[in-house]
Amino acid sequence: MASFAPFALSVVALLAPTGGEPPPPLTGADVARLHRELLPTRAEPWETIGWRVDLLAARDEAIRSKRPLFLWAMNGHPLGCV
């Protein structure tokens, strides 16, 4: 019996995305898997530090608590884009 494998491979090659072709639709399983892979399931260590995002409110808190401030300043928010 002739093998259908070469024919199947040809069909896959013809259907494979080339430059500019949209990828195939994402299934519910695809979305769920990507969520599992990219989204943390618990707070990451840096998140446990308790970052404030308002400078003057942090300053007021530092005065009340008699602590110095530590500022992490970046181009692009350090808790966000970069």
Partner: protein, 311 residues
């Protein structure tokens, strides 16, 4: 993400910052520009750093007193340096008086979440690429990094979703401001004319009555021809009564190219995946600190919210 994954994952640093400092994180783009008490205080602190003159980036690390006196200031990452500088700051620190700072906020740089809007967590990662062997630990971290940003969903867009329609303005915001490779630094965003295709639909789901399925195609091309993204978007949206309960989307596609601040992209084509998940408030109604940070694209707020005609 380098510092999040290295210096600020160190347990000694975490304990020092939790117990001995009031830690604050800021985007210098706002603080360098705003003309109000917060901006003036920021500039007062940072320009005490040795070697920092106007025109140079103010990004870095600063330990300082509430009266604005700088204790330690530096701009080189590394956990050992961070620990050393934090301890030095504590040795120099003496509590003292500081006057209240008041005055109107510079509204040009106010980024309050619009009424009725919801915040969506956005994470991106390069999931398949022909990476070269990393030269050092920082390069290794970058190759595996997952970025973090947030999307704002406006009230009228939520209403549109509830009515069964994926609003075009939301699709364009996702394409222009969130289909970005921000895994290595601040990425270039997409101009309106660089959106070649952006078609996103919402169809009734086959599961529970109130969920709907998202499907769409996004194609982006930079004007200079150096950057492109061909992607598919999918996922589901669910309402409980009138309230948006889930906004679980994913985008996956082929990306090529980098940007001025996202150097060293993988060679050739690579797969960039992006996921979206609604941020849920805690039981007391509070939001995680990171989700209170405005989206990167919100620097250009009117454009980000789709309020500039023709963009």
């Amino acid at each position: 993400m380098l510092d999040r994954a290295s210096s600020f994952a160190d347990k000694d640093v975490i304990e020092l910052l939790q117990r001995r400092f009031v830690p604050v994180a800021l985007d210098v783009w706002y603080e360098e520009r705003r003309q109000d008490a917060a901006g003036e205080f920021f500039r007062k602190v940072v320009f005490q750093r040795e070697g920092l003159t106007p025109g140079r980036t103010t990004q870095g690390f600063y330990a300082f007193a509430p009266d604005g006196a700088l204790l330690e200031g530096w701009n080189h990452r590394g956990v050992d340096r961070l620990k050393e500088r934090l301890k030095a700051a504590l040795d120099e620190w003496k509590p003292g008086a500081a006057a209240a700072l008041t005055g109107a906020v510079d509204s040009r740089f106010d980024r309050t979440l619009p009424a009725g809007a919801r915040i969506v967590e956005v994470r991106a990662r390069i999931t398949d690429a022909k990476w070269p062997e990393p030269e050092d630990e920082f390069r290794r971290i970058m190759q595996r990094a997952t970025s973090l940003d947030h999307l704002w969903l406006l009230a009228e867009e939520i209403e549109s979703l509830r009515a069964g329609r994926f609003p075009p303005a939301l699709a364009r915001r996702i394409a222009r401001f969130h289909c970005i490779d921000n895994t290595r630094g601040e990425p270039p965003l997409w101009e309106p004319e660089e959106v070649v295709r952006c078609e996103v639909t919402l169809a009734p789901g086959t599961g529970r009555a109130k969920d709907a399925t998202v499907d769409g195609v996004i194609a982006l091309r930079s004007a200079d021809g150096t950057r492109r993204y061909d992607a598919r978007i999918g996922g589901s949206v669910e309402f409980t009564g009138d309230a948006l309960a889930r906004f679980d989307l994913a985008i996956r596609g082929t990306f090529a190219g980098g940007g001025e601040y996202t150097c060293h992209p993988p060679p050739g084509d690579f797969t960039l995946a992006i996921v979206f998940r609604l941020v849920a408030p805690a039981a007391d109604g509070s939001l995680p600190a990171a989700s209170r940070v405005p989206p990167q694209g919100a620097r250009w707020l009117d454009d980000y919210l789709g309020r500039v005609a023709g963009r």
